[in-house]
């Protein structure tokens, strides 16, 4: 009953096949098919109402999907009640049992599996050590801070060594600093345990930080599946580009001379696919040359100093605005508002989007 750290991949694969969920006249999930590899950290990313939580609830067995099926390690689970699916889950509001102390909370899934109280509490202590709250076993949940509750919830979800762990916006209730610290911890815990994680969030930063793969969803449909790099570097639609944090998405059209023009920015000398409607300009491909001259000129309108990086907003002479960032030289300053810059954009870095 070694809890962690043996380096074996203990995760199970999860397959969704043609899942469809309808509530009255609204379609919450449509044609949801997905294969999650054993031990993978997969994130369902989308705004509220995108169907990501519906997919999670169907896997946990909280809802019966209208049609389609789900299998864990090749075994269909659609007919299994929730408690027989052997899935770990961390909820957004932690859902610790308020009348039980921390150890009894963590021991709960073990007790439900027939373990007596004492050995269950002993194993719970091991899980509590893993999340570095060894001393907190006798506290009641209301005596813990948000971050501590989160870790206890995590310990409770993994103590029975489930092969699949679901996390439903687990960091949503924490403040930003704590959220960033917890992201690293979650990633670390998952590597130690080796279970498959399906993570739901609407926070693109979280998705990029944690995931092996990201599934971007909207209105019950999957828009794009890929590694964080694939999604960020090559979003397939405008929605994906904007949701993943590509700030500059501008319409493209043919100019009067027949060449392609980035609306509000300037002409573009690239091989543009004929059906393109938008161009995504990731902030890091915009190289701003102060005092230079070029096809795309602009004036700095806003400066956000972040220490290692300085973010700028600039208004192009053609009327559009662009956001870009520059790494600061040691001891160097920032361009002041009102500075003129020329944008040097490698056309090969621009992503053209059909929709």
């Amino acid at each position: 009953m070694e809890l962690a750290g043996n380096g074996l991949a203990k995760g199970a694969s999860v397959v969704f096949r043609g899942l469809r969920q309808v509530y009255g006249s609204t379609v919450a999930l449509e044609e949801f098919s997905l294969e999650v590899a054993a031990g993978e950290f997969l994130t369902l990313l989308g705004p509220s109402g995108s169907g990501k939580t519906t997919a999670l609830n169907a896997l946990a067995g909280f809802i019966d999907a209208t049609s389609g099926h789900i299998a864990i390690d090749g075994v269909p689970i659609s007919d299994l009640p929730t408690e027989k699916r052997n899935i770990g889950m961390v909820f957004q509001n932690y859902s610790l049992f308020p009348h039980l102390d921390v150890l009894d909370n963590i021991a709960f899934p073990l007790r439900m599996r027939g373990l007596a109280r004492r050995p269950a509490r002993e194993r719970a202590q091991t899980a509590l050590d893993l999340v570095r709250l060894a001393e907190y076993g006798r506290r009641m949940p209301h005596q813990l801070s948000g971050g501590q509750k989160q870790r206890v919830a995590f310990a409770r979800a993994i103590v029975f060594e489930p092969r699949v762990l679901l996390m439903d916006e687990p960091l949503g209730a924490l403040d930003l600093k704590l959220r960033e610290a917890m992201q690293l911890e979650i990633k670390q815990f998952q590597r130690q345990i080796g279970c498959t994680v399906i993570y739901v969030t609407h926070d693109q930063g979280e998705a990029l930080t944690l995931s092996d793969r990201i599934v971007v969803m909207d209105k019950g449909r999957v828009l794009q599946v890929g590694t964080p790099k694939e999604i960020y570097d090559a979003p397939r639609t405008r929605f994906v580009a904007e949701f993943i944090g590509v700030n500059n998405v501008v319409p493209v059209a043919r100019g009067a001379d027949g060449g392609w023009v980035l609306d509000g920015v300037g002409p573009v000398a690239a091989a543009v696919p004929a059906e393109s409607r938008y161009a995504a300009l990731r902030p890091e491909i915009l190289r701003a040359v102060p005092g230079g001259t070029g096809a795309v000129m602009g004036t700095i309108t806003d400066v956000i100093f972040l220490g290692d990086v300085v973010r700028y907003a600039a208004r192009c002479d053609a009327g559009g605005s662009l956001l870009f960032a520059q790494r600061r030289e040691p001891g160097g300053g920032a361009h002041p508002i009102g500075d003129r810059v020329a944008f040097d954009i490698d056309p090969a870095d621009i992503v053209f989007l059909p929709e």
Binding site: G61, T82, E83, P98, F108, M112, M140, P141, H142, A157
Partner: protein
């Protein structure tokens, strides 16, 4: 100025509610044969009288017996009914709720008469179980009202958490939902108990020869009035205050645990 007037109003309102109860204490402590205020001489004579007189003691014991029985029946039936009303999706849920709460609204005399007619037909007067049943009808609304409102405010993701961690639906209810309902069930069982304990009208109709404490007090008032009644009343007040204090303690504890 407004503050001062509100203060005066508050004092009058509280006095109106509490003063009659407070006056009972000196009256019960008199040594004279009669209910008098203020008492000329203090003594515990009537308290002794209460415990010496078998009819008082028996009436009290019967009231406790019926009260506990009616409370248990109301608690079990009322909690199960609340679960059905709040969680179920069958037609007539609201109607069921209304029927269960109705004894609180229907004039007691009418309820008493109805129970009397039914019990008479079944030859079910003069029996303790019958009295428990009749009192449970009156106690039920308190349980249904309090437990169903607690159940409505219960965060069902706790039950989901229990389910996904391996508890079947029944086990999830007993291990997660019931502890949450505990203080509400306790508070409602106190109300249910006192609803039964001081129930007079229905008891007069259906009890036959059985004498509960309120019936005993009632006959005393009709036949001869002595300060034993006041002594009995004072002891009842102490019992109810202690009960309410305990219920409040558990309620506060629940607020701490489940709050925020």
């Amino acid at each position: 100025m407004t503050r001062f007037l509100l203060g005066v109003y508050f004092a009058i309102a509280v006095a109106f509610l509490v003063l009659p109860l407070v006056l009972l204490v000196p009256i019960s402590l008199t040594s004279s044969q009669f209910l008098e205020f203020p008492p000329k001489e203090l003594s515990l004579r009537w308290y002794r009288e209460f415990f010496v007189d078998a009819s008082w003691v028996n009436a009290t014991l019967l009231s406790f017996k019926v009260g506990v029985g009616a409370t248990l029946v109301a608690l079990v039936v009322g909690t199960l009914a609340s679960v059905a009303i709040v969680r179920g999706s069958f037609p007539g849920r609201r109607l069921l709720h209304a029927i269960l709460v109705a004894p609180l609204i229907i004039p007691t005399v009418i309820l008493a008469l109805a129970l009397f007619i039914v019990f008479l037909r079944w030859k079910w007067v003069d029996s303790v179980p019958a009295l428990i049943f009749a009192h449970a009808v009156v106690a039920l609304p308190y349980v249904v009202l309090i437990v169903s409102s607690a159940l409505r405010s219960f965060d069902t993701t706790l039950e989901r958490a229990a389910r996904v961690l391996g508890a079947g639906p029944v086990r999830a209810f007993f291990s997660v939902t019931l502890p949450y309902l505990g203080p509400s069930m306790f508070a409602s069982s106190l109300l249910a108990f006192f609803a039964s304990f001081d129930e007079l009208i229905i008891t007069l109709f259906v009890s036959g020869g059985l004498q509960t404490l309120p019936v005993r007090i009632w006959t005393d008032l009709v036949l001869r009035l002595d300060p034993t009644v006041a002594a009995a009343a004072c002891m009842l007040i102490v019992v109810s205050v202690v009960g309410m204090a305990v219920a409040e303690y558990f309620r506060q504890r629940n607020v701490r645990r489940y709050g925020s």
